[in-house]
């Protein structure tokens, strides 16, 4: 890994990293602040009045939406959070290799005595930093501001959310970087990574009401992201760790292998 490249990559992503983090901190704070306002009785009543099919579509069979976990999952972590971190991670992942090749700046970097392995490992290191920053921006405010608004999560819950959320983002980053290592500009890999995320989200929704869609559950990253269950029950399915870990490792190793052999100009 090259420290110069690491610093430069972080330096160039500082604005997007800052604004995504600020957005997540604000959103997290907003969610814990809203919990006493709409949580409890009123929220439970509103949920009970929803059509049962809609509840089933959004996973109401697996988790009580009126619970704190259900609230955070439906209102924030189960959708909007995925959209926000999905944008951030996909943008970084596809820009880190294909973006630089497409813009031509990779030529400047690789004209220096730095190996492709070093370049791609450094970009992965920045991905890890990015993921940790986004995870911290999401979960630390919930933990810090929570007690003021009756949102008391245990340390174990916090760390489970932090770790699972980070691994989910790394898996997504692995897919984005693998796509990025194949193409010459960021358009196609962005479409592939974002398209996969949207497709997995739709399949996860449909699988709540269709047995046919359940066929894809074992490989559906979105399906393993159950922050509501983590908050309510303090548990994470073992398969979630394995699937996220495997996708992240395969994606990132694939990106390394492809990038080392491809044309970069």
């Amino acid at each position: 890994m090259s420290w110069t490249l690491l610093r430069a990559t972080l330096h160039q992503r500082r604005a997007s990293m800052f604004w995504f983090s600020v957005g997540l901190v604000f959103y997290s704070w907003l969610m814990v602040w809203f919990w006493p306002q709409i949580g409890g009785g009123q929220y439970a009543e509103m949920i009970e009045n929803m059509p049962p099919e809609m509840l089933a579509l959004f996973g109401g069979n697996d988790i009580s939406f009126a619970s704190m976990g259900g609230y955070f999952q439906t209102e924030y972590l189960g959708l909007m959070w995925m959209v926000i971190v999905g944008c951030a991670i996909v943008m970084y992942g596809v820009g880190s290799l294909a973006g630089d090749i497409g813009k031509g700046t990779m030529e400047l970097t690789l004209a220096q005595p730095v190996s492709r392995l070093t370049v791609v490992l450094t970009r992965i290191a920045v991905l890890v930093v990015y993921v940790l920053v986004l995870a911290a921006a999401t979960f630390v405010p919930i933990q810090v501001f929570g007690p003021t608004y009756d949102v008391d999560l245990t340390a174990r819950t916090f760390w489970l959310l932090f770790a699972l959320g980070s691994l989910f983002m790394l898996a997504l980053g692995g897919i984005a970087m693998l796509a990025s290592s194949i193409f010459r500009d960021s358009g196609k890999p962005a479409g592939i990574a974002a398209g996969l995320l949207v497709m997995m989200w739709i399949l996860d929704l449909v699988s709540n009401v269709s047995e046919a869609a359940e066929l894809f559950d074992p490989v559906n990253l979105v399906g393993y992201w159950q922050p509501g269950k983590v908050i309510n029950d303090n548990v994470v399915a073992a398969e979630a760790w394995w699937v996220y870990g495997a996708v992240a490792v395969v994606g990132l190793i694939g990106a390394v292998l492809v990038f080392r052999r491809r044309d970069v100009a």
């Binding site: 090259s2 220096q112 044309d263």
Partner: protein, 322 residues
């Protein structure tokens, strides 16, 4: 020692030809001009040398070591100025200099001197720089570590004549200090100014390779002769090596003389009374264009054409036409 060696270097982008069967050597301490029009394969060759492109066939060696796609040590000895200057738009020139130095792990020994000579302001962001100033920054980044091999792809593109001259002066100094320069260009005056040897690449193939001295020796001469009496074009056209004879008015002929025929021309002119004569050396550019035309078969009587069809090494000048 040869600093650059390629053997049958071939690169195809799918079915599109980049460079084909390129075999050449660049000796240490020389200035090699890599000459060809846009799209001839110059940049592809350079990118293969730098390990940015994987050759379809053939090999490339730098300093006697095979170029490795994932290698980095060879590039420590190379300074590269890309043909199309693309840098990080939001960053300053100083940031780029620190970026490159950081990756090289060495202080840029020539940075201050080059900044001063090119009158470059490193505090400005790249997006604020004109094309010429971006080119200056690219040159500073490529040269500031005083590399053993300078690979320059159209290095004076966008520069004014003063700065062009400054670049040539820096190249001269680097060569005097024992460095090797590989200069890709389609500007013949540039090659003529700085190079010792030139390889002409055409449609992806090395069409010819010879010393600049040899190429210049093949210069064309444009003649304009005014006689005291009316004269027919055949009077000059019958001299071997003279062609494109045209008559302007009754007493003036223009013609083109190729090769070592000027003595014959003067002897023929002496047969009549000449009131005025102009003999103008054609530029290397004209020689180059003539060479291309000959290769394309537009002028089969051309000397270059006959050379091109007979692969042979010109021992006297070290020239080789393929």
């Amino acid at each position: 020692m040869d600093v650059i060696t390629t053997e049958g270097l071939t690169k195809y982008y799918g079915s599109t030809r980049g460079v084909e069967d390129l075999t050449m050597t660049v000796p240490e301490g020389s200035v090699y001009g890599f000459l060809g029009p846009n799209g001839a394969g110059k940049t592809t060759t350079i990118r293969c040398l730098l390990g940015m492109l994987k050759p379809t066939r053939g090999t490339a060696q730098l300093f006697g070591t095979a170029v490795n796609l994932d290698g980095s040590e060879l590039r420590r000895r190379i300074g590269y100025v890309a043909g199309e200057v693309i840098m990080f738009e939001k960053e300053t020139g100083r940031w780029h200099m620190e970026y490159v130095s950081g990756m090289r792990g060495a202080k840029p020994s020539l940075a201050d001197e080059l900044v001063e000579r090119f009158e470059f302001d490193p505090s400005k962001r790249v997006r604020e720089l004109s094309k010429g100033n971006k080119q200056k920054l690219a040159l500073i980044l490529g040269m500031m570590h005083d590399p053993e091999l300078l690979i320059l792809d159209e290095p004076t593109s966008g520069l004014d004549p003063l700065n062009q001259e400054a670049v040539y002066a820096v190249i001269d100094e680097r060569v005097a200090a024992g460095r090797t320069v590989f200069l890709s260009s389609h500007i013949l005056s540039e090659v003529e100014r700085v190079c010792e040897r030139v390889g002409i690449i055409r449609a992806g193939r090395l069409a010819a390779e010879e010393s600049v001295h040899s190429l210049l020796a093949k210069r064309l001469r444009e003649l304009e002769v005014t006689f005291a009496e009316p004269v027919e074009p055949a009077f000059l056209a019958s001299v071997p090596g003279v062609d494109k004879v045209e008559r302007i008015g009754e007493r003036t002929l223009t013609a083109r003389a190729k090769g070592d025929v000027i003595d014959d021309v003067i002897k023929r002119l002496a047969e009549k009374t000449v009131t005025d004569v102009e003999i103008e050396l054609a530029s290397l550019e004209d020689v180059f264009l003539e060479f291309y035309r000959a290769q394309e078969g537009e002028d089969p009587s051309d000397d270059s054409a006959s050379d091109a069809e007979t692969p042979a090494r010109d021992d006297a000048e070290g020239g080789e036409v393929r």
